[in-house]
Structures are given as C-alpha cells and as structure tokens.
C-alpha cells in the first residue's frame, strides 16, 4: 500500500533519525543499488552535515579533542537533538550541557565550559553591533544619579564563569597558537563575551568585576551591583572597574533602575 505524503514524510523523518522503517524501504525503487543503501545516503548526510555545522560553531572543542572524537560527540548530540529550525548558527545551544554529561568527555572536565565559551562567541558574533556607551555620554548625568542607574549589556553579550582557566585554554587552542601547556590549577576564569566590530571577543574579568557584571546582568542598580562585587572581593574598586569596562565598550546603555 502506498504511503500518503504526511505518512511518508513521518517515516522518512524517523529513518534519518536512525529508526529503520520497512514501510519506507518498500516505497523506494531498488535495483543494483538496493533501496536500503539509497536511503542510507540521506541518513548519513543528515548526521554528517549537522556534525559539520556543530564543528563550525564549536571550533575550540574540536581543536581540543580532535576531529574523530568530535565527530562521535557531535553525532551523539545530533541523534538526541535535531535542529528545530534551518538556521544552523542557531543550532547547538544545548551542546555544552550534552558535553558535560557525555561519559567519554569526562577526562576533560573543562570541555563543557569551553563549549559554553564557543557558543557565547557564536551568539555574540550573530548579534547586532549596536551602539556602546562612551565617556562622553556620561557628561550629562548628574553624579548623584549614577548609583541608581543600571547598565544594559550589549545584545548577545554573556558572562561565562568557569572553575578552569578557559581563557588560556581557548587561546592555546587557536590556529597558530604556540603549544604552551596550560596549568589547570591556574584557577577560575570569568569572561564577558561581546560582539566587536568585525568579530566576537571576550574580556577577562577579575573576581570583583565578575560579581559586578553578574549583578548587572540581573538588571540591578550600579549601587547594588557594587555592593555585591565588594562582598565577593573586598578590594573591588567601583570607579576603576566602571572605567575599564566603559573603555572596553562593554556597556550598551545606562538607564534608570526600578529594581534594587
């Protein structure tokens, strides 16, 4: 019996996701190349092309584990989570979490955080550049108003906090980087990932700055963010941190905070 189009597409969708469907095989013309072999071309292409898309989005993960290991990792993820839409640079948000639970990757405890960093760079890269707050924009703001303002981070920006020195691991994994070893005991890394004019990049934050930015992400006022930063790092210097992040064009806007 011939398959109606919706049933045929449901069967084909199951087939490319790895489920053998005898009804689909029966619907395909076989000759010296059997129907099963013809159908396999599509199953392989789906898995292979989506794995390649993940390799493009997570280049540092692939550089760290090698192409063969990455392919296994990516194909495992593809089998669990096909894209929900056709824009492949938006595919893979759950890949870092998959890496974290993937048994063969356990030997590299920082790998999931590197995947998070790759993903954050990808998201920032595909976000609008937008305008940034410059020192001159502050000229018109009365000093007593500053503590009650909150800061809007640029679209696509994110804070990646890791127990491992992922900034150094990332740098050592870039094409052409010198093969220096990275000491995993070097301590944690807190990175603010941002869109830049021609690419995406991260700013390495110290403990106080990281607590400060984490609070800003929550939308609290500068005053509350500074209090949080001071409790994380008693030597936190608000004006120095504010000036540094301003110079690095890390703020998209200042606005009146209605929250804490």
């Amino acid at each position: 019996m011939q398959l109606a189009l919706p049933d045929l597409q449901a069967a084909f969708a199951a087939h490319v996701a790895g489920v053998d469907r005898p009804d689909l095989v029966a619907a395909v013309v076989g000759d010296t190349i059997p129907a099963e072999a013809r159908l396999r071309v599509y199953r392989h292409h789906v898995s292979h092309s989506l794995s390649a898309a993940l390799a493009a989005t997570f280049p540092t993960v692939q550089a760290l584990v090698g192409e063969a290991f990455f392919r296994g990792l990516a194909q495992g993820f593809v089998a669990e989570a096909l894209p929900a839409q056709p824009v492949l640079t938006e595919y893979g948000a759950e890949f870092p979490a998959f890496v974290a639970t993937h048994e063969p990757a356990r030997a590299l405890p920082y790998l999931a955080d590197i995947a998070s960093l790759d993903w954050a760079l990808n998201v920032a890269f595909h976000s609008p550049e937008g305008r940034r707050v410059a020192a001159v924009d502050l000229a018109g703001i009365a000093a007593e108003r500053l503590p009650s303002l909150s800061i809007v981070l640029p679209e696509g920006a994110s804070l990646i906090r890791s127990l491992y020195p992922i900034d150094r691991i990332w740098k050592a994994s870039q094409p052409g980087a010198s093969a220096d070893t990275v000491d995993l005991e070097a301590g944690r890394a807190d990175l603010l990932v941002l869109r830049r004019a021609d690419d995406a990049a991260f700013i390495v934050l110290d403990t106080g700055e990281a607590a400060f930015v984490a609070a800003l992400v929550e939308g609290v006022s500068l005053e509350s963010a500074a209090e949080g930063a001071l409790s994380a790092d008693p030597s936190f210097d608000l004006s120095a941190a504010f000036a540094r992040l301003l110079t690095l064009e890390a703020f998209a806007a200042l606005q009146q905070s209605w929250g804490g």
Binding site: I33, P86, D199
Partner: protein, 279 residues
Amino acid sequence: MDLVTGIGLRAPHLAEIARDRPATGFLEIHAENYLGASPARQMIERLRETNTFSIHAVGLSLGSAEGLDERHLDRVAALVKRLEPAYVSDHLSWSVHGGRYFNDLLPLPYTEEALDAVVRNVGRLQEALGRQVSIENPSCYLAFAHSTLTEPEFLAELARRSGCGLLLDLNNIVVTAHNLRLDPHDWLQALPDKAITEYHLAGHAVNDCDGEPLLIDDHGSRVGPEAWSLFDEIVRRYGARPTLIEWDTDIPALSVLLDEAAKADRAITMANPDAARAA
C-alpha cells in the same frame, strides 16, 4: 559581452570580494546564512549597493505536507525585503517535519498529492514575498515506486499552477539521471521554456554505494564535462539565462570560481550568441 554568470558568495571569499569587487554577473547567498546580524551580514548589505544579488534558500522545505514554518518564512521575507535581490529560489524537496530540521534536500514522490502540497507552499511563499520565486530540481539518490509523474513533468506542472519560475541545475540533472538510471537528454526535452529563469552549474563527487558508483552532489569541484555538455544543450534549446557557479565544500581560491564563471559565459556566447546579448 555582458557577464551573465554569477558566483556563490561564500564566507572564505567575503573579505576579498568586498575589497576587490571583482566583475561578475551576480552574487548568490544562502538565505539561512544571513538571517542574523553578523559582520558578514553587514558586508553583504554594503556589497548590495554595487552588486546584483540572488537569494537562494535551502530551508523553506517547500515539499512539506505540513506546510511552511511561518517564523522562518518571515525571516527570509525580511531578508528579501532588505536586500531586494534580482532572484529568489529554493528547491523541489523538503527538510522539515514535526518541528525538526534535517539539513538535507529530502526527496518527494512525484504524485498529484505532492504536487498539490508544493503548489500550496510555493503559493504561500510567493504571497509572503510579493514576488515570483524559482524552484530548483534537486539531486536525487532514490525514486519512489508510487511516483506517477517524471521530475520535469512535475516541475512544468508546478510552474503552470503556481506561476513560479524554474531554476535548472545541470549538475543535479547529471547526478539524478545517473543515480536513477534516466537519460539526462530526455530530461531536457519538454520543459516550459518561458518558465525557465536560471541555470546552476557545480561539480559532484563519485561515491561507492554497495560496490556501485553513486554520484553525490557535493559542490566540491569544478563543473564536470557531462554538466558542461548539458549546459550547451540547454542553452541551444531554451536560450541563455542568468547562470550560477556553485562551490560549497573544499572551497578554492576566488579566481577559480571566476574562471568557471568566465567559462560559462563563453559557453553561452558559443551556444547562442543572440541570447547572450539579450540576457
């Protein structure tokens, strides 16, 4: 002679093209690569001021029985509105089912039921874009036993009922004809010439499939001799159309693409000098 052949604009060549602005018929981009706000998108918007563009979508899934993904359609429509390309196209295939995207041009049975679905979806697309789109013949690795129409018959009927144009990919005809044991020259015989809007040229790979050669449409090499020969034949028969050199894997130096495009322009002039002037 005017240059009528364009090239696929791919990420590794973007900076060079933006800097050198090489002469070419047009630049083609894949819609799905430029829906975000990346620096590449900004470069495209600047190039648009001096170049003719073609937007080739790969993910609209015009063969889906369940209809189109309206959110994706909106995003593609916004890109088309923004770039105002000379040509817009996607494929006679499907790639979405039940909210999952397969990143492949999956085959359709050539039946009246499938024709109704594609006519409906192409109609919806043309309505959303407010313009005609062109539909490309896919590379096929299998045929369905219950198909009642040939691929060219299906395309001709689709063009007649939806008013869409036809984008004929000569390499895909070579690949499909080899894989499905068809005669590529027969394939070309009875096309509705007024509906033909564009030609595509690319290379393919030859894979081993259970001991038999199977041609794979990988866009990873120069245009092969069979596709050049069919290109001559189609230009002689139906006249010149805007033509594209596609290259998507193992992307070579830009000069190689421009060289292939010049070769296509020469083939058009040789095959049909009058049409080359008119195109």
